[in-house]
Structures are given as structure tokens and as C-alpha cells.
Symmetry: C2
Subunit: 402 residues, 2 copies
DNA sequence: GGCTTTTGTTGCACCGTAGGACTTAATCGG
DNA sequence: CCGATTAAGTCCTACGGTGCAACAAAAGCC
């Protein structure tokens, strides 16, 4: 929390800042490139001299953050380049607790999933201690699969609620029925000493996997609104490739954008929230299906001609159009990525939704808003949590040089 | 415009980057401080050594960007400090074209208004060339008032519409009836050679004066939504003290947040936009008053018991509550600042509006959203335009060292 | 008046990057 | 097969900017 109206004291840049900054830049350049780059490539793309680039790369290589691949003699003249790759020995643990799934994953600097475990079930109204114990157990199993030489640089835990990351507290997670939980108290027993999981919001971290396909590597979109269809509707705003966490962690709550002030009351105290039309429970109830039915069943039912299912989908689409248009007008964002159950309904929703947005979004005449579905990852927020931890290394590799 | 999915090549930090960065930091420290600081204060607050701070200050002093005030012997032991102040010889020109007012202002590094001219009138549907000629004339008059030794470091022009700042084009300004105008073509004749005005959106620049009370000095709020009540309703999102311009300059258009999907059609093509309830024209028409009546007349009429005026205010308040709550839920912002005619209605709107927001904003239980009125400045966007130009100097003073 | 305290300055050391010469490892051409 | 060419990577010195510590300056305190 910052004190309003006062600038926080900014630190002066010193010699070591240069090294930190440039080491990070070199590492990010290696990680961002779709194809392996050489020391000379780095020098060219960053503008530093070959000697400087070379020295920084050497430091990163000896720390294991960058690896030299075999020189493959190509059809080019001159001394062949040494291809550089993100190191395989640096990795992070990503954990996820969701109302319907627990996940633990280890992801390395190259974005490769080294090990993972998923468990499906129902944790609505579960006991925080018991559930976190389960996740801790998963984490321990996954960590046992990790090769000996691998170095864990951090861990993250994705939670479907509002978190105070600085204090490590989950303030409230309505879908789980949890509030004021401090996961570190339970997780510490299962994790290696010194490895404590940074908390993050599920939608924020899932959005990160869209913005960043691997640590430091830009993903499909740089500026977008991520809408996470869960029991309710969560979301995240991504600007310039970075997830906006907001002043106190509450940012991105598209589920509570008001679609109709005279609409049904929402558990948040307001009326006509988007969640009341497009949340999974609301949607399935309106369609006359059991509330744990799958999105595919809903689509099949509608396709079979069931009027209630069709109507529920249309209502959800119209509500999404109103809510998303409002957000897009305020944020001037070109793209909406649908995740969770909304992602699986994207094919059905997209055409009508894009048409609605084209009439409701002010800038649509210049650039038509696009709707996309998130990838098929079964636990994107777990990967996002690992990416978050790995991001600390990319931002400042100095602490990881032996 | 950035190419999506690709990281733009970032430049490596070099020795000169240190100097640039630290010179800027020292200058901003001097400008940000409410009371004059000394070289030693700067060293302490930035963490650099006294010798480094001293050297950087000397450079800024000899360039006129910082001034040494008289040493005033205080009641403290030790050698008295030399108080440092923002230089008086660096200033920028701020211009504003509005539907009802033209303005030209010169503001110096300390935030002092050196000279200004305002002209009221009606420029709705005006000819761009003629109107810009008028502003250019104002600018020339104002510049003639500026002392000889003063150095103009830049200029800005605030316009009530969507601008492409990079290309210097006003895309569209519905209130003026302008589109695709390149002001530089007309203004160049009135401004000194080399001084070209950077374009900005009126609401964005007005919001900047709230975020920044003088160049580099934090204002009353750091994170807020600025709502500019003009003929329509504009706005700006300010996060971490910086105005979000959005991907293509369309950000902050709160006026077109949907308040009621079944509401009246808006000129933007959507229905039930906030502007249809809280825009000046809509509000006055609903109250049965002429559309150029003042906000004070509306308040007086309502206070006198006129039911139409009272109802119009209540409708506007409820619409604002729905729209603002949606935005606040997505952005996690604690404060709304009302400007333009809405600022003058703030006293009437605030109590009810804050209550409505308290029930509609998700995080209100933890932190109640607050409504504030913008200051009484008659042309805030002109000042904002000047601040924008001065901001370039604060960001990188190196170009201004002789 | 001498002591204390804090500000501002000066000279030297250190650190990291810049630049250019040199080495290395490949292709190409005779 | 061998030298010319080309580009990658390394090494050494120079330079620029900050850190450090000693010193000078200007006040209050006793």
C-alpha cells in the first residue's frame, strides 16, 4: 500500500544497476527468442558491444540460467554461432487451488513442464487447512519427480479470490467459502525450506499465460482483457504484456460490471452483475441443467434444439456484450480472451458477441474488437504461478549467479 | 503502434544511461519536494553519495533547470544548506481548444503560470482552420508576455476528442464537429520555429493536473478515475500517477459505459450510455433548461423545488453510480474526481453517489470509494498540456544541459 | 574562541561498458 | 589441399560515472 499524494523515494542508479539491468536484458533476450540466438545476435539486438554481450552471457551460462547448445554448422560463411537456450536447471513450482481442481506443476526457464499432478474434485465450502494440505502433498510428489540438478527459484500459488500478495493472505474466495487464510502456514511443511509460495489471483495468473507463452517470451497478445469463467466470472486486465493487479488486488473483476441495474441481485450486494448471466452456475441454472454439467453438454443441448439452453446462451452473450463493451471503452483494448467455461463456449458466442461489440465499442469503426478462446491448458493458473516466480529471475538474475 | 506478439528490441543500459537516469531523478526530487531541498537531502533520499548528488545538481544549476536560493540561516547547528528550487527559466506552452473556451498558458518548471489568455465563446461546429488560427493568435500574445531569458522547452495542445499523438492528428472531436485535423499545419505560423505542440485529449490532460500539482510534484491523488463533464462525458484513468492513454488513444471513455442496455440510443451507436444521462446537454434537457445553462442554475432550480430539475439530477446520479461502479470494479481504483460541469455538481451528487458506490463496488467494504471535485481551474487541460511538455524535460534533462 | 555539527567539495579507487585488435572456426574458390 | 574470406567470440586498454574518505566551510553551542 502506497501513501497517497507522496512519491515514494526512488533509488539512484549505480554501476551495479547497469550490470543487473543488462544481465536481465540478455537473459530475457535469450528467453524471448523463438529460435536460439548467439552472443553476436544479442549484441546487435540490444546495441551493446560483442565484448559486453559475451561477458554477460558467460556469467549467465556459468550460473546455469543460459545453456550453450551444440554448434550446428549451417550453410552460412564465417565462424558458426553458438546457439543459446534458456537453462534447464532453473525451474519454479506453480500450485493452483480451484473449486473443482487442484494442480501442481514445475516449469523450467524454457517454459517446459518438467512435472505435474492434477486432481479433480469438489472443494466448494472446503476446509482451508485440509485442502491446502492436499495441495502441499501434490507439491511434494511433483517435487520428487524433479531431477537432482534442477534448482527451484521460486513458487507460486493461484487462488480463486482476492489476495494480498505482500502479506501472503487470501482475503476472500467466495467460491471456496474461504476468507482470511494464510496458506504459507500449511504449505511450509510440504515445501523445501526457503521456498515459500507467492500468492496470486487465479484469473491474473491464467491471463499471464496468454501474455507470456514461456518465461520472458511474448504470447499471443500484449493488451487484452481476460475473462475467466468459473462458478462466477473473474477477469484480468493485461496492458503492455503486464497484468494489472490494481491498488489492492481487486482489479479485473469484470464479473461485477453492471449489465442491468434492474437485474437480479448479486451476492456482492449490487444488482444485475455480469456474473448473474454468464457465471457457470447462473448459466446452467437458466438452461435447466445441473450446476455441475459441462459446457459441452450445454452446447449439445442447445444444438439439439432445447429452447431454454439456447435462451441461456443468448442471454449470456448479450450480457457479455454490454459488460465487455463498457470495459473496452474505458481501457481501449483490442482483444478479449475467454477462459474457463466461457472459453469452451467461445465458438458459439464469438460471432454474435463480436457483432454486438462492433456496435457498442466506440473505436470499433477503426479497429473491430476480437474475441478469442484461451488455450486448452487444464490448469493455466498453475503455469501462471510458476511464470510469476520465474519472472523474478528474469527481472534480476544477479541473485542467481553463484 | 506496436506489433502484437513481438517484443520490441530493448536498448542496453550504458554509462550515459546512469547519468541520464540520475540527473532526471535529482531534478524530479527538487521539483517534487513541497519545501526546498538541499544537495545533502537529495543524497539521503535517493541513496547516492553527497559527492554524486552535488555534481549532478551543479550540472542542473548551470543549465538553469535548478536554482539555488539564498541560504537562510536556520535554528539548526551545522553549515546551513543551500535550498534548491525548480528553475524559473524553463517553461512550456499549453493550449486548449474546447467547445466553449480557448486558452493559452505558459507554465514554468515550478508550476507557476507565467502568462495566460482565455477567450469564451461557442466553437461547436466551428471551422478547424479558423479556430486554430484564433488559438495560434492567443499563443503569440501569451508568448510575447514571456520574459526574454525564459527558455521554452515544449508545447502541448489539448483537444476534446480522440488524438493520434504520434502522428499529430485529431481523429475526431464530436463536440466541435471536427475530424482528421492536423493542427500543426495552422499553428506553425504562430509559434516560434522548432516549437511544435504535442496533441493530447482534454480529459487526459485535465486529469494530469490532478495527478501532478506542478511538474514532477505529486498531486492530490495517484490512482483515480477522472470524469470530465462536457457536452458529453469524457474521462481518463490514472494509475500510479500516470494517465493511461490506451492502445490507440481511446482509453477513458466513461461516457460510453452502458448504464442500461434498454436505454436511449447514443450517437456512438450503442444504447443507454452514461452520456445520455449525465452529459451536460442531456442533463439540462431533462431538467427543462436551455442547453447552455450553467450548472449553478440547475442546482438553484432544483433547490427551489423544481421537480424536473431534481429528477434530472437524480437520474444522472444513479447513472453515474452504475457506470462508475463498473469501472471501479475492473480497475480497483479508490477515487473518482469529477471535472467540468460534473465537478460543479459534486456537492449535490457526492452523498448519494458515495452511498450507491458503497453497495455496488466489490471492495467497498474494505475501502469506501470516494468522490471528489476537481479544482476550480478555468482551463485545466491547458495546464496539463504544458505539464506534458515539461514532463519530457523531467524524464531526460540531458538534452537541456547546454 | 574553540568545539561540534552538518554541508558541500575534492581526489582517488572501483566498476562496468566501449572500442579495437586478435583468435577461432567455418565456407568458398582455385 | 590450401589460402582467402567471413563472421563469432575473446582479450586488453580506455573512458565515463559513481563510491569513498578526507577535507574545507559555515553555522550554533559552551
Amino acid at each position: 500500500m502506497t501513501i497517497e499524494g507522496r512519491a515514494e523515494p526512488q533509488a539512484a542508479a549505480r554501476q551495479s544497476t547497469l550490470r543487473t539491468s543488462n544481465l536481465g536484458l540478455v537473459l530475457r533476450t535469450v528467453c524471448a527468442a523463438p529460435d536460439p540466438v548467439s552472443r553476436a545476435d544479442i549484441a546487435v539486438s540490444t546495441g551493446m558491444t560483442r565484448s559486453t554481450a559475451s561477458r554477460l552471457v558467460d556469467d549467465l551460462v556459468s550460473a546455469g540460467l543460459v545453456e550453450e547448445a551444440e554448434r550446428t554448422a549451417g550453410p552460412v560463411r564465417g565462424r558458426p554461432a553458438t546457439p543459446l537456450l534458456p537453462g534447464r536447471t532453473a525451474a519454479a513450482l506453480g500450485l493452483q487451488v480451484d473449486a473443482g481442481r487442484l494442480a501442481a506443476r514445475v516449469v523450467d526457464l524454457g517454459g517446459r513442464v518438467v512435472a505435474e499432478r492434477l486432481v479433480d474434485g469438489d472443494w466448494v465450502g472446503s476446509d482451508p487447512g485440509t485442502t491446502l494440505d492436499q495441495v502441499g502433498g501434490l507439491a511434494a510428489v511433483v517435487l520428487a519427480d524433479v531431477p537432482e540438478e534442477m534448482r527451484l527459484v521460486g513458487a507460486g500459488l493461484a487462488l480463486p479470490g482476492i489476495v494480498d500478495a505482500a502479506r501472503g493472505v487470501l482475503l476472500r474466495a467466495p467460491n471456496l467459502g474461504w476468507h482470511d487464510v494464510r496458506p504459507a502456514d500449511v504449505l511450509a511443511a510440504h515445501l523445501p525450506a526457503g521456498l515459500d509460495a507467492v500468492l496470486g489471483n487465479e484469473a491474473d495468473l491464467a491471463a499471464r499465460t496468454v501474455a507470456e507463452s514461456a518465461p520472458g517470451r511474448p504470447g499471443a497478445h500484449r493488451d487484452f482483457l481476460y475473462v475467466s469463467g468459473q462458478i462466477g466470472v473473474g477477469g484480468a486486465v493485461v496492458l503492455d504484456g503486464r497484468v494489472m493487479r490494481g491498488n489492492a488486488g481487486w482489479a479485473g473483476e469484470v464479473g461485477h460490471v453492471c449489465v442491468d441495474p434492474d437485474g437480479p441481485p448479486c451476492r456482492c450486494g449490487s444488482t444485475g452483475c455480469l456474473e448473474q448471466y454468464a457465471g457457470r452456475h447462473a448459466l446452467l441454472a437458466a438452461a435447466g441443467l445441473p450446476r455441475d454439467a459441462s459446457p459441452d453438454l450445454l452446447l449439445d443441448t442447445a444444438a439439439a434444439g432445447d429452447p431454454r439452453a439456447r435462451a441461456a446462451l443468448d442471454v449470456a452473450r448479450r450480457a457479455l456484450a454490454v459488460a465487455l463493451a463498457s470495459v473496452l471503452n474505458v481501457l481501449d483494448i483490442p482483444t478479449v480472451v475467454l477462459g474457463g467455461h466461457l472459453g469452451r463456449l467461445a465458438t458459439d458466442l464469438r460471432p454474435g458477441l463480436e457483432d454486438d461489440l462492433a456496435t457498442r465499442v466506440l473505436s470499433a469503426r477503426w479497429r473491430r474488437p476480437r474475441i478469442e478462446a484461451a488455450g486448452p491448458d487444464s490448469a493455466p493458473a498453475a503455469t501462471g504461478a510458476a511464470l510469476h516466480a520465474l519472472g523474478d529471475v528474469l527481472a534480476d538474475p544477479v541473485g542467481w549467479l553463484d
